[in-house]
């Protein structure tokens, strides 16, 4: 009874609150690895936390009265989505909740009347259009194998998903690139400024509002990586290794490809993503698995 209470409530809450920490560390790893790929030394591992704390303590400047509320809502709803995952809830509801978080970010960037921020917001919308259908199709294929959308049931499924759904995992890497705002799909904003975009959706944020957006972004990246972990559910350590491998692949891709236009982005994620997932489903069907 007592143990159940810890596993079912205390642990998920702790994990959810730990998400920004994990995400921050991942960002540190990202910067370190990227630097090495470019023959630089790179900042310390916990640099992202220094940055966030510094941002939080800066003189508050906002672009509109709604902006801080929406920035916090973005963080809050991202955490909510992550919490749903940790409480082993419904995968589709998790996607819809991230859509809620995204809408907060997009509204925040559209409502400050600024050309760069507005442009970034529009492109962020296109990014959602690029990855959301692929993500839902991936969850659909998970459902077809495991018979449930509940993370709880997916975890209880005996065979590692990777064995049955290898192509779907590759499609998820595409989603991860968009979610991490990495090249070639960093159309709405990216870690560094682009000439025509400045910092896209983030342009009009500074100080504490920017810190909240950073945190929200970390949580979302951790969320997608945790979903990748599900592909080796019987042993989550192997799953974690799998997600780190996916993370590394994204960094390699980021450093080897120039960014694309939003049109090519949607063509690629939809074209490649859908074909991979459909091929996987049809293949399983032909083999009589589903």
């Amino acid at each position: 009874m007592n143990e159940n209470y810890i596993v079912n409530i205390v642990l998920p809450v702790l994990l959810t609150l730990g998400a920004p920490v994990v995400g921050g560390l991942l960002m540190g790893v990202d910067r370190k690895i990227t630097a090495r790929m470019q023959s630089r030394v790179g900042p310390p591992l916990i640099q992202p936390f220094y940055d966030a704390i510094k941002l939080w303590n800066k003189r508050p400047v906002i672009a509109s009265r709604l902006q801080p509320v929406l920035a916090f809502s973005y963080l809050g709803f991202s955490l909510l989505a992550f919490g749903l995952l940790m409480f082993r809830q419904d995968l589709l509801v998790i996607v819809f909740t991230t859509a809620l978080a995204d809408t907060c970010l997009i509204t925040a960037s559209l409502n400050s009347k600024s050309p760069y921020s507005y442009l970034g917001g529009r492109r962020e919308l296109l990014s959602v259009l690029a990855y959301e259908p692929v993500l839902i199709m991936a969850f659909l294929s998970i459902y077809m194998v495991t018979g449930s959308f509940l993370v709880d049931e997916v975890l209880a499924y005996r065979m590692p998903l990777l064995i049955q759904l290898p192509a779907v995992l590759i499609a998820l890497v595409l989603v991860l690139i968009v979610e991490m705002k990495k090249s070639p799909f960093d159309v709405s904003a990216s870690g560094h400024a682009h000439q025509e975009l400045v910092r896209g959706v983030y342009t009009e944020f500074s100080g504490y509002t920017m810190a909240m957006l950073e945190l929200g972004h970390w949580v979302k990246v951790t969320l997608v990586l945790s979903i990748v972990t599900l592909f080796w559910a019987p042993n989550l350590l192997i799953g974690a290794a799998l997600s780190l491998a996916a993370f590394f692949i994204v960094l390699v891709v980021d450093n080897s490809y120039p960014r694309l236009t939003w049109r090519s982005m949607i063509k690629t994620t939809w074209g490649v993503g859908f074909i991979l997932i459909l091929a996987n489903i049809v293949g399983l069907n032909l083999m009589g698995v589903i």
């Binding site: 508050p60 809050g76 909510l80 917001g121 509002t209």
Partner: protein
């Protein structure tokens, strides 16, 4: 007054048992007489406006109807009226949302006629058809005799035609005639379905047809009814009349899109769905719905006119409901019902809000609606909540969409995959067009300017607040709505598919935690507001890659110190999604799919 009576009576029926009635023969004769009067009027319209389509389609139903009656085939239909739980759900939607729209119209039509500068009010005529439409819808959902169903169907066609041409402009006249002929196609299909019913099952009573041996002839009959439903619910290839209908005064759109007219088609498909379970016909219906949903979501992105977005969104959501009805499992049926309920609650708000804004700004272009939140805070806040209610959790509409996804996913693999592919693309495009509109409305000026306070007439406030209140309450208490409105319908022919354990809704393959999501939905922004108060911050002008000029931050110094202004404008992607082209593609594919539907019904 009417509103209260209608609302109360439909709630009364909710707790009644199945209610059956056959009116005396005199009534039947009266309906017969009125029907031919109606057809006579359509013929008159066709001749007067020199519209061969209207003339031809009217004759095509009048002559077979007359023959049908001469042979006396329709006389032994019993019972004529059947009220079951499906009728009650529809009744509740019609009689709660409908009267609220009429209350709203009291204010709107006053303003509207002031705008037009009419010397003599034409409101009497307007409200006559509005209420007649509500009456006809009520009749439609309780008719068991296909003949009566057909009669009320034609009355809604009449009301729709008269309401669209209400302003008597040339454009209104043209669009009204388009709506008329498309609806008449449905009428012809209905008459043909009656013949099929007579030959295949020797009856034109709906309850008999539904349990009759499903021969392929009978399936064609159901296919014809589905065709009629597509015309009313504006599915491809008949989508264009609903877009044309936006020339009418806004309350008309609010009524057509939310609680009446378009729901008639979905109702009819829901009615026949139990009889076509597991047939290819049913799958073809689902495919048409899915295709419409996907394509209209893309088309909505390209719209610059507020009502255009709303219209495409309506067509798409109807497509989603038809998709669910076509998949025809207990779960998908439940999804269709949930969507139907919440769509009418949400769409009503949006149209009413759009009407108010339009009268204030004199523009329907959403680019002109920039920063509306500062100018009309009350109306805009209502609309914003309405928009969020259309596509985001934790609102009922999204819950319906979630149930729909679970339902499509759990249908047989290879049949379900094309449907869900169309559905996820449509769903993502839906997020895009709502979110970009929503964001555009919230642009606030950097320096607060003095603006006139927003003054709204009482009926406006009353109708908007009531509808919004019902939507939120129903979404929070969705377990109650499901247990009392949706599940009782399912129990009869499908068996309950949705359960509401604890704090959420369960589909058997997933759980939607309604109450925790609502709690988070309210608490998170509240903390955000608290945080914003605590940290605060001065509002600064945006970054413009040049020195900002003035306090408004709307212009900056550029080459050679010249002053340059900037604007932000919505994203419509209309170089990619060319409305004409895409719509023509939709009509062509839609027509092919309808053809496919009949082919599948035969084999």
């Amino acid at each position: 007054m009417t509103a209260i009576v209608l609302g109360a009576s439909s709630l009364g029926l909710l707790y009644g048992e199945r209610f059956i009635m056959t009116p005396p023969p005199l009534c039947q004769t009266a309906v017969l007489l009125m029907d031919f009067l109606l057809l006579g009027y359509f013929l008159y319209v066709g001749i007067k406006k020199r519209n061969p389509l209207v003339m031809g389609l009217t004759v095509l139903q009048a002559l077979p109807m007359a023959y049908f009656e001469l042979m006396g085939w329709g006389h032994h239909t019993e019972p004529v009226i059947v009220v079951d739980r499906l009728s009650v759900l529809l009744g509740i939607i019609i009689n709660i949302v409908g009267p609220l729209v009429c209350i709203y119209a009291i204010s709107y039509m006053g303003e509207h006629e002031d705008h037009l500068g009419l010397s003599k009010s034409r409101q009497g005529r307007f409200f006559l058809f509005m209420l007649l439409l509500l009456g006809a819808m009520n009749g439609l959902v309780v008719s068991n005799s296909v003949y009566w169903l057909y009669f009320f169907w034609e009355v809604t066609t009449l009301c729709c035609y008269e309401l669209i041409r209400h302003d008597a402009t040339e454009q209104a006249e043209g669009n009204a005639q388009k709506a008329l002929w498309m609806s008449l196609v449905g009428g012809v299909a209905f008459v043909a379905a009656m013949y099929v019913g007579h030959y295949a099952a020797d009856s034109i009573a709906m309850d008999r047809l539904l349990v009759a041996q499903p021969t392929s002839l009978l399936l064609i009959g159901f296919g014809l009814m589905a065709l009629a439903a597509f015309t009313k619910s504006a599915q491809f290839p008949f989508h264009s009349w609903l877009l044309g209908a936006m020339v009418a005064p806004t309350p008309v759109s609010a009524l057509l899109h939310s609680s009446t007219m378009v729901n008639a088609g979905v109702y009819l498909i829901l009615r026949i769905a139990p009889a076509i379970r597991g047939t290819s016909l049913s799958w073809a219906i689902a495919l048409i719905g899915a295709f419409t949903f996907m394509l209209t979501a893309l088309l909505a992105i390209s719209q610059r006119v507020s009502k255009g977005i709303l219209a495409y969104s309506t067509i798409g959501n109807l497509g989603l409901m038809i998709l669910c009805a076509g998949i025809n499992t207990p779960l998908s049926y439940a999804a269709a019902l949930t969507l139907l309920l919440f769509h009418s609650l949400s769409k009503g708000i949006l149209f009413m809000g759009a009407g108010i804004v339009e009268n204030r700004l004199n523009s329907r272009l959403i680019d002109d609606w920039e920063g509306l939140l500062g100018k009309l805070p009350f109306t805009t806040m209502t609309m914003l909540v309405g928009m969020v209610g259309m596509f985001l959790p934790p609102f009922g509409m999204l819950l319906g969409k979630w149930v729909a996804m679970d339902a499509v996913a759990s249908s047989p693999t290879l049949e379900g995959v094309p449907l869900i592919l169309l559905m996820v693309i449509g769903s993502a495009a839906t997020t895009l067009f709502w979110a970009k509109w929503l964001g555009h409305l919230t642009i606030l000026p950097i320096r607060e300017r003095h603006s006139d306070p927003e003054v709204l007439l009482a009926p406006y406030k009353l109708s908007l607040m009531t509808l919004l209140g019902i939507n939120v309450l129903m979404s929070v208490g969705v377990a109650f709505a499901i247990n009392n409105l949706v599940v009782p319908i399912l129990v009869g022919s499908y068996g309950a598919a949705l359960t509401t354990p604890g704090l959420g809704v369960n589909t058997g393959v997933g759980t939607f935690l309604v109450i925790p999501l609502w709690a988070a939905f309210i608490i998170v922004p509240l903390i955000g507001i608290y945080l914003a108060r605590w940290k605060g911050g001065s509002i600064e002008t945006p970054y413009l890659a040049g020195e900002n000029i003035g306090e408004d931050g709307l212009s900056f110094r550029t080459i050679a110190d010249s002053e340059s202004e900037f604007k932000v404008a919505g994203m419509f992607l209309d170089d990619v999604i060319v409305e004409d082209k895409v719509a023509r593609f939709g009509v062509a594919v839609g027509a092919l799919l309808v053809l496919l539907m009949f082919v599948l019904a035969v084999i």
